[in-house]
């Protein structure tokens, strides 16, 4: 099989992944905080949060980085959305995971929708949001949590695990994010790891792994697209793919320009890393990096391949080169994200 066929496969794999995002449905009463939860999970203000009234008349669809699709379902079994149409209308059977979000007591709509889901063999996670508001005179929070769990079990008639979250102080999102990761299949796990916000170092490692796989795929695309050899390198690489790859890695780690330029991260330990990451993000930066690594890669290749005449050889070297450059950029991003996360974790601990 020629490298072209292989590349074509890689490309179609890339496209497939983008076409089939991980789909998560959220349901629950208006005001339970579904939009805030989506924002917390992706670590970015992906949805506008409405402070007012139940505006969810339609399913609200939030797409995040091609990989994730959140659907905020409107009320089940209301006059506007009768039960029998609901499953067809919103294509309910095609989600990978369901989150039942509640912040008060259980409503009939939630209970009956859950029963409908479980009779279809669907997995549903229960999220008790607004943990900061759980309070009752003369009772400890732990006691109240226990009561809430018991109530969920009673209402659903199943033993359930309840994830307590608070969008105010960020409580419980590490657990919820891990739970989502653990309840989806392998192909979807990569998407979650790639695009969700990391709340732990372990999650960052998963993210790195997912990015490495992506680099592997993208390098193939970059090398085979290679039409114009870089001046002074003689290896054809499509720099635009590399620029996209870098952007992809940064996005995965949530290292947006705005974030990197913010005062919050203007600390001496982070600045050199941030500067590198910003610098290499441009086309010129990519070319600079490629040239730096080209010497290394070329040295690895046996002398008989020089000069590079055949496109196949150029492509394979281009592939290796793109991958090396990609991985080096990934390492930088990973390191920065790790330090930022450690700061965050310490900040919360204090």
């Amino acid at each position: 099989m020629s490298i072209y066929d292989e590349a074509a496969q890689l490309r179609s794999k890339l496209n497939d992944e983008q076409r089939n995002p991980l789909k998560i449905a959220l349901f629950g009463q208006p005001g339970a905080g579904k939009s805030s939860i989506i924002n917390k999970l992706v670590g970015y203000k992906a949805v506008e949060i409405g402070q007012t009234t139940d505006t969810t008349k339609e399913a609200k669809i939030v797409k995040w980085k091609d990989d994730l699709l959140f659907v905020d379902l409107p009320g089940y079994g209301t006059s506007k959305f009768p039960k029998n149409d609901f499953f067809d209308k919103f294509d309910i059977n095609n989600f990978h995971l369901y989150l039942c979000v509640f912040s008060g007591k259980f409503h009939e709509a939630d209970t009956s929708f859950f029963h409908e889901l479980s009779s279809n063999g669907k997995i549903c996670l229960f999220v008790r949001n607004k943990h900061d508001e759980i309070w009752q005179e003369g009772k400890k929070t732990s006691k109240l949590e226990e009561e809430i769990i018991n109530d969920v079990c009673k209402q659903t008639a199943y033993k359930q695990f309840v994830y307590f979250t608070s969008c105010k102080d960020g409580k419980g999102f590490k657990e919820l994010s891990d739970a989502i990761y653990n309840h989806i299949d392998q192909a979807q796990k990569a998407k979650w790891a790639k695009s969700a916000k990391a709340y732990s170092i372990e999650f960052l490692e998963k993210k790195k792994e997912a990015c490495e796989n992506y680099i592997y795929v993208a390098s193939g695309a970059a090398a085979v697209n290679s039409i114009n050899p870089l001046p002074g390198v003689d290896v054809g690489i499509d720099v635009s793919v590399l620029v996209m790859l870098f952007k992809f890695i940064r996005d995965s780690y949530g290292l947006t320009d705005g974030k990197l330029n913010s005062k919050e991260y203007a600390v001496p330990t982070l600045i050199p890393l941030i500067n590198n990451i910003l610098k290499y993000a441009s086309t010129e930066g990519c070319i600079y990096l490629l040239k730096r690594y080209a010497a290394q890669e070329l040295a690895k290749a046996t002398l008989k391949y020089i000069p590079f005449v055949g496109q196949i050889i150029a492509a394979s070297i281009g592939y290796a080169l793109t991958r090396t450059v990609g991985i080096s950029y990934l390492e930088d991003c990973h390191e920065l994200a790790k330090r930022i996360l450690l700061e965050e974790l310490n900040g919360n601990g204090r």
Binding site: P30, T53, G75, G104, K105, E108, A109, I148, Q155
Partner: protein, 223 residues
């Protein structure tokens, strides 16, 4: 011509008999068919509420709202814990339950006030439509509609039922302690535009946790 009424009386009598026997047949079944038997108990309790209100003097106030809105806590807080009997407060669904016991307590007394701490509507045991059809709105002198989070479609419907009586209504948003200043402004504006409520219907923010605003809620329906 009086005999013309006989078939009617028989039919009505049979209807009552059926309703009562069916009720008793189904009553011991636990959880199996909640909609059928529980709905009836809730309806019977709502009818009993009507007659209890008639036999009491005093200012009658209904506290209505979604489950978990903070109705029972508000009642306890407003009366400094002196209302008799004390409402049942709990994080579990249907802590206040009118759907399983035909003799459960429906009203609480405090000074000259008669409070009905109504169970949250919209749970499987307390469906909203039963409140809309059976709740004795006209027997009350004032209403407090409590909500938490967002003002739901069901709250809006209940508000309109209460508004038809022409009695004072207070819309009370709980959990003030976790709201920012600008959020309260946005919420109030939204409710006013949705209910087309004139400036006279008070929209009050309060917190059961630190007691802020609880007195203001009480004052709006006190007289």
């Amino acid at each position: 011509m009086w005999w013309l009424a006989i078939p009617v009386i028989i039919l009505v009598g049979k209807g009552i008999y059926d309703a009562v026997t069916e009720e008793e047949d189904k009553a011991p079944e636990p959880r199996e068919k909640p909609t059928r038997c529980r709905k009836s108990i809730l309806e019977l309790n709502l009818e009993r509420l009507r007659s209890e209100l008639q036999s009491h003097n005093g200012r009658k106030i209904a506290i209505l709202g979604q489950p978990g809105a903070g109705k029972s806590s508000l009642l306890k807080k407003m009366t400094n814990g002196e209302v008799i009997p004390l409402p049942i407060i709990g994080t579990q669904t249907d802590a206040t339950n009118w759907s399983s016991d035909r003799t459960c307590n429906l009203i609480s007394l405090y000074e000259k006030y008669v409070f009905a701490d109504v169970p949250g509507y919209g749970t499987s045991n307390h469906p909203t439509h039963v409140f809309k059809t059976t709740f004795p709105f006209s027997h009350f002198d004032a209403f407090i509609i409590v909500f938490h989070g967002k003002f739901h479609g069901a709250d809006e419907e209940i508000f309109h039922f209460a508004a038809r009586t022409g009695k004072p209504i207070c819309i009370a948003r709980s959990f003030l302690d976790s709201l920012e200043q600008d959020e309260t402004v946005a919420i109030e504006r939204d409710i006013r535009s949705r209910l087309k409520a004139d400036g006279l219907t008070p929209v009050i923010f309060f917190s059961n946790r630190n007691g802020n605003g609880v007195d203001i809620v009480f004052n709006t329906i006190r007289y």
